[in-house]
Amino acid sequence: MTSDPYCPHPAVLRSVEPETPGVATFGMEFQEPARAAAFHHRPGQFNMVYLPGVGEVAISIASAPGEGVGLRHTIRFVGRVTNALQSLRPGAVLGLRGPYGSAWPVEEARGRDVVLVAGGLGLAPLRPAVKALLAERAQYGRLWLLYGARQPSDRLYVAEYADWERAGLELLVTVDRADASWRGAVGIVPLLFRKLALDPSRTLVLTCGPEVMMRATVHEAIDRGVAASDVYVSLERNMQCAVGLCGHCQLGPEFLCMNGPVFPYERVARFLGKEHF
């Protein structure tokens, strides 16, 4: 009989690392070793994370394939399910199913320059792409990460920045509101584009963040001569099933859970620009 695609599989919570106020990274591992062994994801994909008795939410996989044991998810506590996750301690059992969706074009980017543009929590799904690009650093040209956070204390993965820069990533961070200690840029993240010496013909842009921020990023990139087919966005919509059956995540002809969340901008441009579509 056909297996049930709505069915979660037990996973143990191994670690909870606070990131910023209201955000933490959860390390999880499938209870069944066979399921863990069979799980292969690509950067940019997501899982459905299930808390028995509470509900299920779509969460990006924040760890790179093969990075340590288990899977990491960086979660913002915003509502019913995510708030309930907040109170879990290591050892708790929750459910996972996945991986779902499309991935960042990490392979296609070989030989090219890559600009990763993240806003807020949008760095979570880009983190595995950062790790994958740096793992094969010699395969790529210049690698930039432009990252915008509301304030310095909202930056994710701060402890990793030095390693990433040593491995060959050029990191530019900007905040909306600086505090007394902040020495970096202030302003919205798409403006950081203006600081880059881009060769648009060899550049790929991968962006994830609030939709307004991604739209501004796309504009900056295209204004600088990057082809619309070389700009990738990761979109977010309500998702109930993640397997193309519930209908919640549609954007025109696309089911974001299966055809997305990562799209070449060119593919979704005509619908993304339509207000409330």
């Binding site: 008795g53 459910g95 025109g252």
Partner: protein, 368 residues
Amino acid sequence: MVNTSAVVMEKSELGNLIARLWAEGYTVVGPTLAQGAIVFDELRTADQLPIGWTDEQEPGSYRLKRRDDGAYFGYAVGPHSWKKYLFPARLTLFSIERTADSFAVHQGSTDVPRYAFLGVRSCDLHAIAVQDRTFLHGPYVDPHYERRRERAFIIAVQCGTAASTCFCASMNTGPRATQGFDLALTELPEAFVVEVGSERGGALLVGLNVRAANGEIEAAHQVTETTKRQMTRTLDTSDMPALLYENLDHARWDDVAGRCLSCTNCTMVCPTCFCHSVDEVPDLLGERSERVRQWDSCFNPELSHVAGGSTRPDIRARYRQWLTHKLASWIDQFGVSGCVGCGRCITWCPVGIDLTEEVAAIRGSDRA
């Protein structure tokens, strides 16, 4: 054309056919009168059918009327569609039970009813085929739908009457059913012509009182030809999906938004709409919970909820989503239109919004 083998069955034999289905383990469901409409429910005997009744349907209105004959199937489709059996409005997918150091998943009973659908019209056969594409032929198969679907026995009825709201002819989905059934009945004044569409359909007839058909086959063909000629409503689907994609800013969306109540009726009665939510329903002790799937609607603002609110916060956006999905993006997603021309959404819209008129208005002033 009648292209399957056909026999003739006396009308009085229909009761035996129903009894035969029950005896073979089927739960027979079909049209019956309830609450002022013709709805689907379990049928034990043929006289539970709305014999001698018909319906008068107009945008926003449905009325039952007496016929001047004793026809068994002299009406069009009502508010129910077969999706209520194949894709139930509320269904527990499975339950989750906490154990000492994990949780266990208990699949609901796989012993779902073996339904026999009696009286499936051509539009609804097409609607079932449309939902098959969603639930069975995509990258992920829904086993809950699959179980119900693969066991269902389908007895079609060739339409002898069309409602004013019907437009299957222009959608190429009727009125004659040509495939997708086990048996198909055409009601003649004195008897049924029974077309056999499958081996198990033929097997069911063994032992029933039927005889070879002669001139009745041509008479049966004329029944649907006449119905087709009666049909007045049409939907021009040429240049879909482009027509709607290119008119996402059309002024007509504001116009219809001023009339639409966002009540969800159209999506509930539509035989192809498949959107649903999945909710967690825990027991009081918190040890067990059910994952419950329920019909949802693009007219509910919560359907598109994300951080920061609904991505379709107003009725204009929601009606536009319904119509562009039904008639345009469905084609990209599934290779067919999401509309089979059954007219239910027209009849059951409390304010009589008619999608054929909305499309005609957009077409009439393309890119307005």
